[in-house]
Amino acid sequence: MAANSIKLLAGNSHPELANLVSEKLGIPLCKVKVSRYANMETAVTIGESVRDEDVFILQTGSDSVNDHLMELLIMINACKTASARRITCVIPSFPYARQDKKDKSRAPITAKLMANMLQTAGCNHVITMDLHASQIQGFFDVPVDNLYAEPSVIRYIKENIDYSNAVIVSPDAGGAKRAAALADRLDLNFALIHKERPRPNEISRMVLVGDVRNKICILVDDMADTCGTLAKAAETLTQHNAESVIALVTHGILSGNAIERINSSKLTKVVCTNTVPLGDKMKVCPKLAIIDISATLAEAIRRLHNGESVSYLFTHAP
């Protein structure tokens, strides 16, 4: 039996990341043509044989999420019908991950729907990074490898921030665990900001729990979307005499008027990983910086293909 090899396919959501991963793996991207019909339906043509190959499809959630999702589903299905041996979706930023629970009556669990759709299309394995809730792994009936950006983030902090006088801050109660884990790894203190729910005739106030006086505050979260929370948190921290405020987020979605918010906020720096394409946002926002996590993805792909353990990557950045 011929040895099967990695076939790396990439959707249109994040070509830069795809190129980085392909470079790190030393494997060229498979030829895929994605086009649109006049009525805006997506069409996919796989340009080379994937029969009996180990297929990895890289697609992330970014702007025009739904189009990219359809593209991914069609690519999976195309590979499946073309007799790929195994189809692994590499989804660095899992779309719809925030809709993961019925937090209100009649709310849909869209993340579960996503999982069902991917499996129905023919996905055999999923690689993702910093899931909003790790329970999403349980929405799938196929294995999900949830990688962590934490090792890369820690490396960034150690190389770029004078962290001896820093404190890790979670911008909301839900992220306390993430912040505490990071604080633990760096041997720092951590603090927490809680936004009290607005009550009738009362302005909701931000409560800071912890001491940040004359300290570098490192705000940690898994994603930054409109940056309202981060900006408010930075404001609160500055009011409490923080020396400077740096935000470290895994998924820098930065939609809407996030860039203006960051520019006008008290944040000194916003550091995201490249799970989501930032496009030309770097140019208009001098406060943005990027951590490259393509090496982690490439290493996970390589290990998965060779049948090696992936857990090393949970604590180490390659």
Binding site: K102, A133, G138, S164, A176, A180, A191, G210
Partner: protein, 433 residues
């Protein structure tokens, strides 16, 4: 309720009875037995054809038997042509194992939900799921009821000066739950973090001035704590002690100089890559990973696991202010008491809390947890709901234990489900007050 039957599993018959009383129905007759080889056997004593059926089953100390019984009961109802089968799990067994531990863990809660759906469950009702994302594990609707309004009502009526009390999360993962309750009561909250031993070099650490050098560690008056929002201490052999406590090595001065050296070289420490990933997941108390051979082993393993999960030296940090106030330590599941006791000691001795009350939805209280809590002078009251059965003998022995009845909530949810009414208002605190 016409065309409906309520079955009560053997795990929590008392709660089942209360729910049936509230609904004004008799529990449907069924016999739950075990063959001599340990297999569970179920026979349903009434026709369920085209009926709306409900099965109330919680967890208990024989959780696997409970699950099998539920599955067999449900599949018997399915086989008996029941129109709809609703499983009511006031406490969802295995809900703590709802995510993959970092290394090759199974998501057992997901497996249990698959089993239930496969057996024929059409609808699930439960209370305070350990993680609400678990609703997505099912292919059928799940109603996750909240106990918070009932707990808040208890606090309002029973904690003196509750307006000045502070709700405390004993680990960062539970902060969200705690802030919800704090918002509901409009009171402050605080948080406790326990992690691996750190070197006590951080400048924000409060300073303790001792009145006498040999003061007993647990003597409150011996310390004057400067105002700070971080209060740290150490956990040594399961007990909370002050930061510069030294073990009885008989070499106090040696220890001292060592810690001075560590202040100098603090930055070198931080993070080598040797930290085991498992250490990070200490937030949920780990279950013992060991083969269980005999029932008698379980208790022993529980004890050993308690020691294992409490490596002798840890740092405990309180973030927030509980001085001269009542600390209400809140979590969803109260199982092993160690982390609660440590949190209570820390709030009391180092945080300066006036009283400490422990509030949890599910009082699992395995082995002799209740006894340990009872004997802990720092804890004034232990409040749980009756979602999880607590032995009558245990309950009467404890003077601190308060059990809040959840049957009204469950019964109302069943009634509304049966009549096709919205249950949204059950989440509304106004309904319960």
């Amino acid at each position: 309720m016409r065309k409906s039957k309520v079955f009560i599993g053997s795990s929590n018959p008392e709660l089942g009875r209360l729910v049936c009383d509230r609904l004004g129905v008799e529990p449907a007759p069924c016999t739950l037995t075990k063959f001599s080889n340990g297999e569970t056997s179920v026979s349903i004593g009434v026709s369920v054809r085209d009926e709306d059926t409900y099965v109330i089953q919680s967890g208990s100390s024989i959780v696997n038997d409970n699950i099998m019984e539920l599955l067999i009961l449900v599949s018997a109802l399915r086989g008996g042509s029941a129109k709809r089968i609703t499983a009511i799990l006031p406490y969802f067994p295995y809900s703590k194992q709802s995510k993959m531990k970092k290394h090759r863990g199974a998501i057992v809660a997901k497996m249990v939900s698959n089993l239930m759906v496969m057996a024929g469950v059409d609808h699930v009702i439960t209370v305070d799921l350990h993680s609400s994302q678990m609703q997505g594990f099912f292919h059928v609707p799940v109603d996750n009821l909240y106990s918070a309004p009932l707990l808040a009502r208890w606090i309002r009526h029973n904690v003196e000066d509750w307006q000045n009390a502070v709700v405390v999360s004993k680990n960062p993962g539970g902060t969200k739950r705690v802030t919800g309750l704090a918002d509901m009561l409009k009171i402050d909250f605080a948080m406790i973090n326990t992690d691996k031993r750190r070197k006590p070099y951080r400048p924000s650490r409060p300073t303790y001035s001792r009145s006498s050098s040999m003061a007993p560690q647990e003597d409150n008056s011996a310390f004057a704590i400067t105002e700070s929002e971080f209060i740290t201490a150490r956990i040594v052999q399961g007990r909370v002690v002050e930061e510069d406590y030294s073990e009885e090595t008989g070499n106090d001065s040696g220890q001292m100089s060592e810690s001075i050296i560590s202040i100098m070289s603090a930055t070198e420490h931080a993070l080598g890559g040797t930290v085991d990933a498992e250490v990070n997941s200490s937030d949920d108390e780990e279950y013992p990973i060991e083969a269980v051979k005999e029932p008698a082993d379980i208790e022993r393993i529980g004890r050993e696991a308690a020691i294992k999960s409490n490596p002798t030296d840890k740092t405990i940090t309180l973030v927030g202010n509980v001085r001269d106030r009542t600390a209400i330590i809140v979590d969803d599941i109260l199982d092993r008491p160690d982390s609660f006791i440590n949190a209570a000691e820390h709030c009391r001795f180092f945080g300066g809390a006036k009283h400490v009350v422990i509030v949890a939805t599910h009082g699992v209280l395995s082995a002799d947890s209740l006894n340990s809590l009872e004997n802990e002078p720092c804890i004034d009251r232990v409040v749980v709901t009756n979602t999880f059965p607590i032995d009558a003998s245990k309950r009467t022995k404890s003077k601190k234990l308060v059990v809040i009845d959840m049957s009204s909530l469950l019964a109302e949810c069943i009634r509304r489900n049966h009549y096709g009414e919205s249950i949204a208002s059950l989440f509304d605190k106004a309904f319960l007050e």
